[in-house]
Amino acid sequence: MSIDRTIAPPFRVIERIHLPPVETITLKNGLPLHLVNSGEQPVVRLECIFEAGAWYETTPGASYFALKMLSEGTASHTSAEISEAFDRVGAFLELSHTSDRASVVVYCLSRFLPVVLPLVQELIAEATFPDKGWDDLRNITLQNHRVNWEKNAYRATGRFREQLFGSGHPYGRTQTEERITTLEKEKAIEHYRAHICNSRYRILLAGKIGEDEIRAVDTTLGQRVFPDSNSESVHLDFGAVSDSREPVLIDRPDSIQSSIRLGKRLFTRHHPDYFKMLVTNEILGGYFGSRLMKNIREEKGLTYGISSRVNTLWHEGYFMIGTDVKKEFTQQTLDEIRKEIEILQTVPVGKEELQTVKNFMAGEFAGSLNTAFDVADRQKILILEDLPADFFDRYIEQIHATSAQEVMELAQKHLALDSLSEVVVGGK
């Protein structure tokens, strides 16, 4: 049978996705428990989310160490006993730290949730910060920092954020040897007491959940009474940010490659341009078929990969283009990136390309909601960033509503070439 391969079959573009709702219960002690109940496998993810990230710390590094010290020892158990207790039931403990928040996350088989919950409660309420654990954690952190510091990509991203926000800003701070070695334990303990131990937090439980699981959470995490005061976003002076747009070059003679970062401060998900900027970014460097990939990887073969991204944090956001190229191609790559931005600012994107990007973004979004944990991640954004419940329901609709004219205008408005900061680690 002969096949006419030039005629593609019709298919339908996803127009709208409804995010499954989250159910919220208030525990006996007033803590909110958010539930995402779905999935076919008997596993759950418990997440205790504290307003305790770098944003709240008074000393750089205090929030990171405060969180990581939770598993180093409690009033009842040593670090080894804690590890053993989680490992024994096959549970995975993650102490997740970001610029904004700190989270205690546990993945476990549903049947072991009652075993895990008292341990989680203990970490949160009874961490003792033993000296040995402190010294070990500091040594390991220092070693890992040194290993990462050898990588151009790591240095470039850190230096780029510092350039955008300033080294004193929670979003611009990076780990340094000095900060790791000089941090006093008392500072971490202060942070722990103020923002974790005595602070109200949110609980997100996702997976296959029944009445038993909810009851188990209530009888453990729901029992402890908190002081009236709560952690609030403290207004701190983060220091001045340089207005200089002079390119930063960190020369590393032994490197074969350069890591390039180019971008600027942007906005949060609340900004009216947010969805349309996502489309603009996608066209430029957000997916495999983007203009930057086509030009710099496919046509010129200068890099294995190049991408751009709209990063949203709680209080602000930033836009960043990143790639690794051979040193001798560094300037050529920078020139090509700027050329692509200029084209985006001056020539309306064609209908076909725009439709492709919209379809791709819609398909990717639909595919990103495969598990209860995926849904919980989206719901978490809505809850923590105080976004409307239909924010993600409108995602695809907003993507489809973006016009070529708007893409061009947003590229002019938000990607002005003289507003971009450039960081290169390696050489030119």
């Binding site: 298919f11 053993e84 096959g90 088989l109 040194r146 294995y304 190229v325 439709q355 398909g363």
Partner: protein, 439 residues
């Protein structure tokens, strides 16, 4: 033009979660007359589906001069065929709301397509076009050669593990092609010829060398009909030649050293272990977890938590159609020498061989494995990759569903036995990656 190919209809969909776990009976299989085998699992939890194509070609099929070709085809398969020209594979797929990726190992090359359910036929058209009529355009080859060289440089520059593992592999294997890095040697990448590429494609991209897995919001009948329409007409090119070289038993420790601008030594130990599918596989995999999975595991506890001899440690057991390597990797702590770290790792291994593990500790890693299994099987991608992996490496996808039981049957004696059998000095290759200044 693309826009003429696409008839756009708009519709609303709702997310609904499938509540029942899948079973072997839910997986339907069929084989086309040209030898291409299909596994199909319906999963209507989200309105998307995937197609994973497992090709039995990887670095083990290469020889000196053409190392890296398997991986290079992972790139070239996106660079144009008869109907869909250069880069059109990606463009058409993206226009239909889909995306793709691929990976190459020592054993297989796997192409992964993710798409909204109504694009299934488009995916069949794209895949059948490149399998039957891939274009190996010389200009494309040159451009892609640069991309792969950049990929190789980026990997070596940013991953110390890559640097040391290439060296250790090449030392542990003296005869078998597992000695080759998957990405290829730099000089080979620069010198593959057009003829090399054409021969390689004709040899290994024959329909009877592929297993295709489709999981998602599609029906078995849809897949069967489209497979017959688009894949069945592709002619079989004959089975690829078997890899005949067998690595002889290693009869003495081998050591290798290299240098880089790093702060503390990295060490890598590698032991020869049997092929995936061997009866010792499950015991070795649990031993794998016992060593470095979780802070209470033997190596992490003794080297990272109780002391600071190492800042990081992990292990890796390579899958293989042929006997491969079990790796143990450590990054030394501040002021710790490679020799000290090596002694500490070996002391832990010796203790494991001598004392074994008790039931309680073994149950711990069995629980971890069960947890990993369920997490993988949560997603349609995890299901597709696992089904394909078991079908290809174990010869039967049903073994996937037996895995929890087979892990459960491993005893402490099994652990002690496999540790003693494989973790011997004569069977070991030790690699040091040292700071430049220590030379």
């Amino acid at each position: 033009m693309l826009k003429k190919l696409v008839i756009i209809c708009l519709f609303c969909i709702s997310y609904c979660a499938l509540q029942a776990q899948s079973s072997p009976e839910d997986v339907k299989t069929f084989t086309l007359p040209n030898g291409m085998k299909f596994l199909v699992l319906e999963d209507h939890s989200i309105p998307t589906a995937n197609m994973y194509l497992f090709w039995k070609v990887g670095a083990r099929n290469e020889v000196h001069g053409i190392t890296g070709l398997s991986h290079f085809f992972e790139h070239m398969m996106f660079n144009g065929a008869k109907t869909y020209g250069p880069k059109q594979f990606d463009r058409v797929m993206e226009a239909s709301g889909g995306s793709n990726n691929a990976y190459t190992t020592e054993n297989v090359t796997v192409y992964t397509d993710w798409f909204q359910k109504d694009a299934l036929e488009t995916i069949f058209k794209l895949e059948s076009d490149r399998i039957e009529n891939l274009s190996i355009d010389s200009a494309m080859v040159e451009s892609e050669r640069g991309v792969v060289l950049s990929e190789r440089s980026t990997g070596l520059e940013n991953s110390n593990y890559r640097v040391i593992s290439e060296l250790v592999k090449a030392t542990a294997f003296q005869e078998h092609p597992y000695m080759f890095p998957v990405i290829g040697f730099e000089s080979d990448i620069k010198s593959w010829t057009q003829q090399d590429l054409e021969n390689y494609f004709k040899t290994y991209y024959s329909p009877n060398n592929a297993t295709v897995v489709v999981v998602g919001d599609v029906t078995v009948e849809q897949v069967r009909q489209l497979a017959n329409q688009y894949m069945a007409p592709i002619p079989t090119r004959g089975m690829p030649p078997k890899v005949r070289t067998v690595e002889p038993p290693q009869n003495g420790e081998r050591r290798v050293v290299t240098y880089k601008d790093i702060t503390t030594p990295n060490i890598l130990l590698a032991y020869h272990t049997p092929e995936t599918g061997h009866e010792d596989y499950y015991a070795l995999d649990l031993l794998n977890n016992l060593l470095t999975s979780g802070n209470s595991s033997h190596l992490v506890k003794s080297l990272v938590m109780d002391t600071t001899l190492a800042s990081q440690g992990f292990r890796f057991m390579g899958d293989g159609f042929d006997p491969n390597l079990f790796y143990i990797y450590g990054i030394a702590g501040d002021g710790v020498s490679a020799e000290t770290l090596e002694k500490a790792i070996l002391a832990q291994i010796d203790a494991l061989i001598k004392n074994g593990v008790d039931e309680r500790e073994l149950q711990k890693v069995k629980n971890q494995k069960l947890m990993e299994f369920y997490r993988t099987m949560q997603t349609i991608n995890g299901k597709a990759n696992s089904l394909g992996t078991y079908e290809v490496f174990f010869g039967d996808y049903r073994r996937l569903y037996d895995a929890p039981k087979l892990y459960e049957e491993v005893t402490p004696d099994d652990i002690k036995r496999v540790a003693a059998r494989y973790f011997t000095a004569r069977n070991r290759t030790v690699g040091y990656l040292l700071p430049e200044k220590s030379e």
